[in-house]
Subunit: 272 residues, 2 copies
């Protein structure tokens, strides 16, 4: 089946959306059939690819409500890059799901149905990516339950590891109770300031932290991607044009970095 | 009475803590008596000034519970810079306050009591600053209810203005129902990348946005501080030494910028 990647970190502004969007686009450029699911009521991943669903246009909220099937809500932005968009309506889902008995498995159920249907008459995906909001709430939990792997964008600043413990704790809980086999496949160092002591120190601390992992933990084999995503203003400009970096500024450092990260993610799959 | 500044933005990682800490320290250097209240369960402002309360050490959580008075929980880090620290215990307050009848005014009540007591036998403050968490939840609402002014750190990137509308909406609601006279005194452009088109464009959009304000809105007279806080790795290193920028690297660009911002904030007070 498809590799299903939850791009998550409860810390705000660390590069989740930039990574989810550009990794999805990079994988599509390499020939994979990709679905990007926007799970943030802020809708940044959708906006980043030129989608701003309004009024009665379908969004992932309709999927969470059980009103519409996934294929009714998906929008193609490229032939092999599809987006299941979000807008502020999704904020209501967090409240509505609180009392639902199956609140953590709604997304997985919807995607499973879509997969069984798509193999008959549609396009099954090779990759599904979730752009998670900056929280460990029910939307992120749905992503962890539906995913096969977790990718963690991390800005190598002082507070980065503090959030990581809590993130791992949540991942372990979901893995144990709802999704055996969930692994944290990689940490992507984002907004990387080369040549700084701080980035090097945090990277060292992260390496040590991962080395101490229990062999049965979901992060026992987590790799730190060798590609560092450097700070590059083009990456911050691309969303205002509704384009992935490869369309907006193909030759820039940001495109090179996300291209390299894409190839690392693909190579990982060969070993799985 | 003191000027009470809520440093807030629900967007994560935009410079709230860096601004709250260095503005508080800057004001103390200029001779003001300052209290910095950490309202984030992540406790970053506290850590930034070398405080990591553990076990039974008092924190702002004890104030929210009504168990301890403000003065029992405050820690001096300099003679005229005091901190009311936070740690992860504060996360419980968000849940516990949900059903409390006075849940939005707990902080204001506690600070009012402290002020009336301090003027007899202690140190009344000239400035009280709140470092808000990245959310519009009950902790931030308490800050808005207790504050006289709001300062908004903003990273001039594409999504910055989207969050601002929601922030202003919340501020207007609190002002109308719980805190008449609350104003948004200023927006501080943080993590500013000079010479980039993006920063200039967002700044232009922000200026236009503010000019269209209703004359009765809390942001009718909001100024954009002329000081831009430039990106400077020293500002990201200082928290790992538990020091404000003026102690860690007095001559660096980050210290110059926060010094300049401090003087702008003081000058504002002269006009109030
Ligand atoms: N490598 C980079 N270089 C320059 N700017 C970047 C880079 N990565 C991300 N940005 C910019 O930094 C900001 C935060 O990035 P992004 O939105 O991807 O983070 P996020 O983790 O998804 O945030 P949120 O928690 O709000 O969802 C955005 O304005 C983005 O355009
Ligand atoms: N001008 C700057 N130059 C370089 N690094 C900075 C600057 N301002 C803040 N930082 C760093 O960027 C990160 C985010 O800043 P900060 O913690 O102040 O944001 P925040 O809005 O308080 O985040 P949160 O939403 O998590 O509370 C921190 O690691 C901080 O040290
Ligand atoms: Mg995002
Ligand atoms: Mg903060």
């Amino acid at each position: 089946g498809p590799r299903i990647l939850a791009v998550m970190n409860q810390k705000g502004g660390v590069g989740k959306t930039t990574t989810a969007v550009n990794l999805a686009a990079g994988l599509a450029e390499e020939g994979a059939r990709v679905l990007l699911v926007d799970l943030d009521p802020q809708g940044h991943a959708s906006l980043h690819l030129g989608l701003e669903p309004v009024g009665s246009e379908p969004t992932v909220y309709d999927v969470f409500r059980g009103d519409l099937a996934v294929e009714r809500c998906v929008r193609p932005v490229e032939r092999t890059l599809h987006v299941l968009p979000a807008n502020l309506d999704l904020a209501a889902a967090e409240l509505e799901l609180v009392d639902a008995p199956n609140r953590e498995t709604v997304l997985r159920t919807a995607l499973t149905r879509h997969a069984s249907q798509a193999s008959d008459d549609g396009m099954p995906y090779d990759f599904i990516l979730f752009d998670c909001p900056p929280s460990l709430g029910v939307l992120t939990i749905n992503a962890l339950v539906a995913a096969t792997e977790v990718i963690i964008p991390l800005q190598p600043h002082f507070f980065a590891l503090q959030g990581l413990s809590k993130l791992f704790q949540t991942t372990a809980l979901v893995a144990r109770r709802l999704n055996r086999g969930l692994v944290v496949s990689g940490v992507a160092l984002c907004l990387y300031e080369r040549g700084t002591r701080l980035a090097a120190d945090v990277c060292e601390d992260l390496t040590a932290f991962l080395e101490e992992a229990d062999p049965s933990a979901p992060w026992a084999n987590t790799q730190i991607f060798s590609t560092r995503i450097r700070r590059n203003i083009k990456l911050a400009e691309a969303p205002s044009f509704g384009q992935p970096i490869f369309k907006y500024a193909r030759g820039c450092a940001g495109a090179k970095d996300y291209g390299a990260l894409t190839r690392e993610v693909l190579a990982m799959g060969a070993e799985m």
